[in-house]
Symmetry: C2
DNA sequence: AAGTGGTCTAGACCACTGA
DNA sequence: CAGTGGTCTAGACCACTTG
C-alpha cells in the first residue's frame, strides 16, 4: 500500500499494451474474472483499473460481452485559453448603448434593448496585441458597479447572477481583416489579417448571458490546441 | 434496480445543487458517512456517485478533510474537427522532394532529407473551400503505396507504423494572407484572409511523425469550439 | 483521538449476450 | 446455459487532517 495502488498497476499495464500496439482497437480485453486471477485481486479492484481506462477513452465495456479497445479520437482538440487577467485596468471604454444588429442577434434581444459594452486592450511586452469587446444585456435601473467590472473576466462578469457552473460558452474562430476601430486601437496595418474569436455565453436555461469578440493580431501569436493521448495518466 | 442506479441519483442531486448555486466553489460537501445515512446507501455506492462528480471536474476530494466544490474552468475549449474524409480522391499532388526549411524544422529533419508531400482540396457544395498540404518523412527505399494514401486521413497515414494511440497532435491556428499557391488553387482573392491550421503529429518517443498546414477560406466557415459544463451528464 | 477520504476484499443478485 | 459486465452491500485497514 505504501507505493502504487494495485488498480493503478492494472490500468498502467493494459494502457502500455494498448500504446505498444499489442492490443488494438476492436480487440477484446481479458474478462474481469480472468484479470482477478492474473493479478490476485478482487473484482472491485480490477474494475477500478478498467474504469480508469474507460474514462480515458481507451477502452469501453459492452455488458454481457466484455471490454474492448476503443478507436482513438484524433480530431478532438483542446484549447487552453487564458483570459489575460493580468491586464485588468486597461479598459478602452465602458458604456451603455442600444445594441447593434449584430449584438442583438447574438444575444437574442428585442429591438431597442440596451447593452453594456466593455472594450479592453491587451498588451504583451508593452505592445497592444489584442482587443476585445464584450456585450452584456443591460437591465434597466441596475447600476453598473465599476469595481465589479474591474476585476471581472468574461464568464464571471456575465454570469454574476448565475451559479458559477450554470452556463457554457460557444466560440467561433475566424480570420478577418481588422475593422477600422481595431486598426486604430491596435495600430495594425489595414492589410494585416487578425484572428477573431466570437463568443456567446449561454445559461442552462438557454438564455444568452453575454457576447464578445476578441481580435488577436500576429503579435499575439497563434492559438495553440492539443489532441490525443499525450499527457494523460 | 430497474430504473436509475442509486449512485446516479446521488450525483445528480449534488450536481443540481451546484448548478443551482446552493453550494458554491470552495464549499465543503457532506462527508461520505453523512451521505450514507442520508441515502441509506453503502459507502461504495456513495463514493461511486462522488467519483463521477470528480471526473466531471465539479468536485475534488481532499483526503483527511472532505470533498469540496471545485472552481469552474471556463477557459478550456474543445474543437471537434472532422477530417472531411468524404472527399478522398481530390488530391492535388503527391510527390517526394527535399524538405523546405519550414518543413525541415517542423519535422526536425536533417538537411537534405526528403519528404512525401500530399496536397488536397476540399470542396463544399462544389466549391473549393479548403486546401491542405501534408508532409511525411520519406524513408529511402520505402515504396509509396498509393491506395493507402488514397484512403488515408492525416493521423492514420502518418502513424501507419505506430500503434493507433501512441501519438498526439499539436495544432496552431492563425490568420494569414493566402500564399500564391493557395490563391491559385482555391480561387480566393489575394486580399481575403484565411484561417491556417498548422499541425504536428508527435509520437510518444517525441519523434515528429508528420506535419501539415490546412487553409480554410471564408467559404469554409468559422471553427467552432465549446467550453463549460453544458452537455455532460 | 475522532473524523475524513483511499484502498481492498468477498460475496450477492441482476440483465444481457452468445452458443 | 454459462459467461460477461452493472450494481450494491458490509466490513477492514491505512494515511491524513484537525482539535
Amino acid at each position: 500500500m505504501t507505493g502504487e495502488p494495485l488498480y493503478a498497476l492494472i490500468h498502467k499495464t493494459i494502457k502500455a499494451d494498448i500504446f505498444a500496439g499489442n492490443i488494438n482497437p476492436g480487440d477484446m480485453l481479458p474478462s474481469e474474472t480472468l484479470l482477478m486471477e492474473r493479478y490476485g485481486a478482487s473484482r472491485d479492484t480490477i474494475r477500478k483499473g478498467l474504469k480508469h481506462l474507460e474514462n480515458l477513452g481507451l477502452v469501453y465495456a459492452w455488458p454481457g460481452k466484455g471490454y474492448y479497445v476503443a478507436k482513438p479520437e484524433h480530431d478532438i482538440f483542446t484549447i487552453h485559453f487564458s483570459e489575460d487577467v493580468d491586464e485588468k485596468k486597461r479598459y478602452h471604454a465602458i458604456n451603455v448603448r442600444p445594441a447593434s444588429d449584430e449584438v442583438r442577434e447574438a444575444l437574442q434581444l428585442q429591438q431597442g434593448k440596451q447593452v453594456i459594452t466593455i472594450g479592453r486592450v491587451i498588451h504583451r511586452q508593452g505592445k497592444p496585441v489584442s482587443y476585445e469587446v464584450k456585450y452584456l444585456p443591460y437591465d434597466k435601473g441596475a447600476p453598473i458597479i465599476e469595481t465589479e467590472i474591474e476585476y471581472a473576466v468574461f464568464p464571471e462578469i456575465a454570469a454574476a447572477k448565475t451559479a458559477p457552473f450554470a452556463f457554457y460558452t460557444e466560440m467561433e474562430i475566424g480570420a478577418e481583416m481588422p475593422p477600422e476601430e481595431v486598426v486604430h486601437i491596435l495600430g495594425v496595418g489595414a492589410n494585416d489579417p487578425v484572428l477573431v474569436m466570437h463568443r456567446v455565453i449561454i445559461g442552462h436555461d438557454s438564455q444568452r448571458i453575454g457576447y464578445g469578440k476578441k481580435y488577436l493580431t500576429q503579435g499575439y501569436g497563434r492559438l495553440k490546441a492539443l489532441s490525443g493521448y499525450g499527457k494523460d495518466v
